[in-house]
């Protein structure tokens, strides 16, 4: 049983790496690269968020806050205080992890919609602070961020960035897959099923939930930090409640409790608005309709629904 799991896990990872390696063949210009990088960054956040939502069954409507703190942490430390980018990235990520650890303890005692409200509130608090403290963050106008450089090399150009993001994404997926198949991951799935039953079986559910909350915040912070350096500019738009909702939607759309589903969800929902721009003023309505209809007809999400349909046919 676990042997086949390992095999299918590695097959999935190989497919992901293969797609990432072959994708540049169809990326004909910088704009396509830009979209691909955006997909990768969102996918990294979603893989982490899926650990929390899909496996542990805890919702968060505030992850754009962690993403934004990662981005602004990097931006402020490099631009205002002259830190080297990698050190800034590490410090920002550590700060976000610490925040998630401190705030996660009381928040994760809440259940269901109350947890949704608390994380939403946290996200909104972060976004308002970022937009208001304009002397540090540049306010609604945003601020410039120095490029990513280390050891005398500066990362520049869409193509180089593509490979870095692709590598980070594959690494994130690999780490997530390992976590899911570890005793920790099984504990998470157990408490998703029933917290009381999991505790009876000897799982410290508060600790497990807190741990996965911190892990998912770290994923978001790293992606945010990379995004700030890649774009060279950051505005509060990426810290808003909408972005949190977008991220959750990607996870659910792709398929909860499916790491590759999270990647597919990020890919579809990041490229869809780009494709829909031809519809001009109808863009928003069509996007909403697509989202709604997909969830009505595939409530389990894209990847689980399609893969069980495929398996059914094969048998």
């Amino acid at each position: 049983m676990s042997g086949t799991n390992v095999a299918s896990r590695m097959r999935g990872l190989a497919v992901l790496a293969g797609v990432a390696a072959l994708l540049p063949l169809v990326l004909v210009n910088n704009y396509y690269y830009e979209v691909a990088i955006l997909v990768g960054l969102n996918a990294i956040v979603c893989v982490g968020l899926n650990l929390l939502i899909g496996y542990a069954g805890q919702i968060s409507l505030g992850h754009a806050g962690f993403f934004g703190l990662g981005a602004y942490g990097s931006a402020v430390l490099t631009a205002r205080y002259g830190w080297p980018p990698l050190a800034a990235m590490a410090a920002a990520t550590f700060a976000v992890a610490a925040l998630a650890f401190v705030i996660g303890r009381p928040i994760l005692r809440l259940r269901g919609h109350y947890l949704a409200m608390a994380t939403l509130g946290l996200g909104i608090i972060i976004s308002i602070v970022v937009a208001t403290e304009d002397r540090i963050t540049g306010g609604p106008d945003g601020m410039a961020v120095p490029p990513l450089s280390a050891f005398g090399l500066t990362l520049a150009g869409e193509r180089s960035w593509y490979w870095v993001i692709a590598a980070v994404l594959v690494l994130s997926v690999w780490l997530a897959l390992n976590l899911i198949e570890s005793p920790r991951g099984r504990a998470l799935r157990a408490l998703h099923g029933s917290e009381i039953a999991a505790e009876v079986a000897g799982i410290d559910s508060a600790r497990e939930k807190l741990r996965v909350f911190v892990v998912s915040a770290i994923y978001a912070a790293i992606a945010g930090s990379l995004m700030a350096h890649y774009a060279g500019f950051i505005t509060p738009a990426k810290v808003t409640f909408f972005h949190s909702i977008e991220l959750v939607t990607m996870v659910v759309f792709g398929g909860m409790a499916s790491t590759f589903g999270a990647v597919v969800g990020a890919a579809v929902l990041t490229t869809l608005p780009q494709a829909l721009t031809v519809l001009k003023e109808y863009e928003m309505a069509v996007f909403g309709a697509v989202m709604m209809l997909t969830m009505v007809f595939m409530p389990r999400g894209l990847v689980p629904t399609l893969s069980s349909a495929l398996n059914g046919r094969r048998r």
Binding site: Y114, I125, T249, F253, M256, E281, M284
Partner: protein
Amino acid sequence: MSAQFLQFLLAGLTIGAIYALVALGFSIIYNASHVINFAQGEFVMIGGMATVSFVGLGWPLPLAIGAAVAGAALVGLALEKFAVEPARGASVVSLIIITIGASILLRGLASILWGKNIHAVPAFSGDVPISLGSATLVPQSLWVMGVTLVIVLLLSWFFGRTLLGKALLATSHNRLAAQLAGINVRQVLLVSFGLSAALGAVAGILVAPITFTSWDVGVMLGLKGFAAAILGGLGSGPGAVLGGLLLGVIEAMGAGYLSSAYKDVIAFVVILAVLFFLPSGLSGRRSTERV
């Protein structure tokens, strides 16, 4: 009581009454279906914007208001019929995403139909401020608080005295048992969406003369309504009203005495603090998980 305090209190109660109406909409749908309807804010927007349109056609204000509320209720019924009902059995998170999709769809349609400008609804009875001791009040505030009070009384009569209201309550307690007792649960679900949509629309129309209205007002008002419903304890009618009024007053006091840029931060910090100590809101019951 200082004049300033009274002024802030009145402003807070006015906006709080609006939050209370939106929160009641959240609670009614939650009770009937356990769905958090994130499209609730769009009903608020539809109410205000449709009224603007009908008034623009030259209709008298009361007729325009009635038509707008009816229109919003129809949209609510359609949402239940075509999006929530076919997805029966989907997980809670999937249902949340469906209603978020619906809210984006409705907002997109509104921006096509009505454009992206800001509109005003005429105040129901003039703009001459009333002085109340040392504070002043616009007449529309009295409309907001008065209509909210009437609606709360009507709702408590509806849930306590009518067969349909009792059927709604029974369904919220135990759907299967309600069905076995002969209650048409599908009809109850439809009614709950229609009723919530109408409540949202009324809130949108009442507040439009004070804060103006546009295609995207539903986002923030919906969010605040959800926050109020949670603060009071999800699914509780008195809780929703209490949560709404409290949220409005906290915001107004925070904006007045501390910082207007941080008024929403203050409100959310208070909500978080309340949830830390009362994990099911102010009037929430402690529930235990069934294994």
